[in-house]
Subunit: 436 residues, 2 copies
């Protein structure tokens, strides 16, 4: 809760369109009461006015996939770790760090990551949270101890959180969880759902997240999909990040991970499911995902040698695209959406690949980085600065040297295709400035 | 010229290795007299001491390929320009801007680009300069009018310049220059070399740059290679950025662009020639380029849909790698070297691809961004902060939130694989602070 406020600036984006001298009147709950060009408003601003001056105000970016604790190994895995360095040798190093965390340590590193997200212009994070229990797998006195630490870190820095609570059970088909995976695992779906219910009862915005078809058996997937559908919760899973997952799924289930998830009931609701990565997918998988979301994590997917997602084909097939910072080696929404477009250019040897409509490429990339992520997290009042929505904004420094010589009509294209998060000067979450 | 000075900081890189509390004693000409850990020095610093505090001092980055004026169209080409948007439709838009420039305009935009380079940590630029004459092709009263504007812009902001003076003659095999290419063209090689001689006589550091095998006929290539070899000048050319160039070269000369340049005599001296891009090259081309340099421009090569250079294969075949900001849509040495590594990871589905030796990936990427670029520009006293070299440095803010939780032993890897130019706080060129 805060006092009603009016926000103005030189430039802003409303409904994906650039507006000169925009103004937003925001109520005490941080909801937008009125939005438009200042000139259209009859009355003077009521209450306090915050003028961002020569700035461009865009919707706050939405980070649809994060593992905050992995921020702890930034830079520490870019050396030879194994005879063959790839995703799997990286995972070994990452697990080592995951197993050193105690509740205070998890809170501290999550806070570092969330603060950096705010600084980078992310105002919402979907935290795909899987470090649940003590290193030996026993529950803490409160089985949600570590989930509460994530919630507390988000509250402490003021970022909007959707807790994508992960269910994890096994190392793979017929294989028990490894020693280093024990703390990720709940006893069974019932124990997991009891934790979910406790979090929801406390008002935490929760999504269901079976980790992957590798880590969860089919009957459990079916049970989770049924609960998610009944409760209308957003559902996320890692899907086909590495070909090995596809090979193993084919051997166990005779089909692709996407096909299995479809059979288990995850795709019943439009935009109800988000497939994270979805790199090793084919045309049949894309058809199954129609109406759902794929969350791409381009900086991480390059870092881990995962490959390029087929973004243009997914869009053509009716799949929405969102982005996430995933491993948090890099925390920068602008780089994520830019690399998504640039990956398409490298694949097709053409330019201007993800422009959605006449509003152009910048507006389209902005939508991927904002609205699409919000929908994937089940948030319908976030992602665009229109009436009724939360005033979650990233304020861009129009005077940054990076924008010298860039005209207003190219500013959105330049922001999303040439800049980095360093141009973000302030963020606002629910009407409250949260600039760290 | 400046007073002798001593530079110290918490961390520095000397000879590709991290040094605690480094110290450099620099003479009045900006040359390093002594370099090492402060603890190794017996005498106290002579003259003024500049302490960069909790910073990491690395060699200034070297931008081995830039078209400064293209900074004017940053953000302006990321919209639909043609039925098929690719390199060629971008080039049309770029030519339009090139033809609006007068001497003052060229100076102004070059200054903007060079200032941004300094801010990003580039202390040297190889400016591949091809806008020479009036829009209708007639020479200015001084035929080097526009080259002087580039020199003046570099002097004004204090960046070290190697002027890669371009020779341009034709639109393609048997095709006269297009109207919009006229101002790039000299009457003949003699007229061009007269300009080069005038620049050299005035003390400008010059390299020879036949634009491409597309734009220069074979006899002229031979004449330029002979002059460059005799005068021991660095030589640069665009090579195989797009497959179309290869197809046209095959039709005209019966061989690849690289093979043609070899036959014309460009590869006589180790590291005497730099092939810019070299994307559409094969194993035979790589063998021909052994001992030379390929300048990759990953942000531009993604933007223009050129494709990924085969960096690992080039290195295995004994070709050095350097980087350039090329179109200057993005000016960021850290992104250039990171995307070079990340491109390899995407191609190979592995990690840690360009680590050269036991010093590790960060040191190797730093070498690509510094020493290799300096050698490609014919500068043997630039690129590393060792005794006898110029003190050209980029000062990295170790306290930047991006480096929170990153330990010293991972700092170089984190800098080159996770950061952006936003962590550069100061630059020094030849012992003089040039932070814009």
């Amino acid at each position: 809760m805060t006092a009603p406020k009016t926000f103005v600036a030189e430039l802003g984006v409303i409904g994906g369109r650039l507006v000169s001298r925009p103004r937003w009147d925001v109520d005490a709950d941080g909801r937008i009461l009125r939005a438009g060009a200042s000139a259209e408003f009859e009355a003077p601003p009521a209450g306090a006015t915050r003028d961002f001056g020569r700035a461009l105000v865009v919707p706050g970016f939405v980070n649809a996939h994060s593992h905050a604790f992995q921020r702890a190994i930034r830079g520490a895995t870019h050396r030879r770790l194994a005879a063959r360095d790839d995703f799997w040798s990286w995972r070994t190093a990452m697990y080592e760090r995951a197993n050193t965390l105690d509740p205070d340590g998890l809170f501290a590193i999550t806070r570092v990551a969330f603060r950096e997200m705010l600084r980078a212009g992310f105002t919402t994070v979907g935290e795909f949270h899987y470090v649940h229990h003590q290193p030996d797998g026993r529950a803490y006195d409160d089985a949600n101890e570590l989930s509460w630490q994530v919630v507390r870190a988000a509250q402490d820095v003021g970022i909007r959180l959707v807790l994508l609570e992960v269910f994890y059970q096994r190392a793979g088909a017929g294989r028990e969880a490894l020693a280093e995976q024990r703390r990720f695992c709940d006893r069974d779906v019932e124990a997991y759902l009891a934790r979910v219910e406790a979090l929801r009862a406390a008002g935490v915005s929760v999504g269901l997240a079976p980790h992957s078809v590798r880590a969860v058996a089919r009957p459990d997937l079916e049970q989770l999909a049924a609960y998610g559908a009944r409760e209308r919760l957003p559902m996320h899973a890692h899907v086909s990040e590495q070909r090995r997952e596809n090979d193993e799924c084919l051997a166990e289930h005779g089909c692709s991970p996407t096909a299995l998830l479809g059979e288990c009931g995850f795709f019943g609701r439009p935009r109800g499911f988000t497939a994270v990565h979805a790199i090793a997918t084919d045309a049949d998988d894309r058809a199954r995902l129609r109406g759902q979301t794929v969350c791409a994590c381009p900086t991480t997917e390059a870092d881990l040698g995962d490959g390029l997602v087929e973004a243009s084909e997914l869009r053509s097939d009716g799949v929405a695209l969102a982005v996430g910072s995933d491993s948090n080696a890099i925390i920068d929404p602008i780089q994520e959406v830019r690399l998504l477009e640039m990956g398409e250019r490298l694949r097709s040897r053409r330019r201007i690949c993800l422009a959605g409509d006449e509003r152009g490429l910048g507006a389209s990339l902005l939508e991927i980085g904002t609205v699409a992520g919000a929908r994937s997290l089940g948030l319908d009042h976030v992602g665009d600065l229109v009436v009724g929505n939360a005033f979650d904004a990233a304020v861009i420094d129009r005077r940054h040297p990076l924008f010298a010589e860039v005209t207003d009509d190219a500013i959105l294209d330049a922001l999303l295709t040439c800049a980095t998060a360093s141009v973000v000067s302030h963020v606002v979450v629910g009407g409250v400035e949260r600039t760290p």
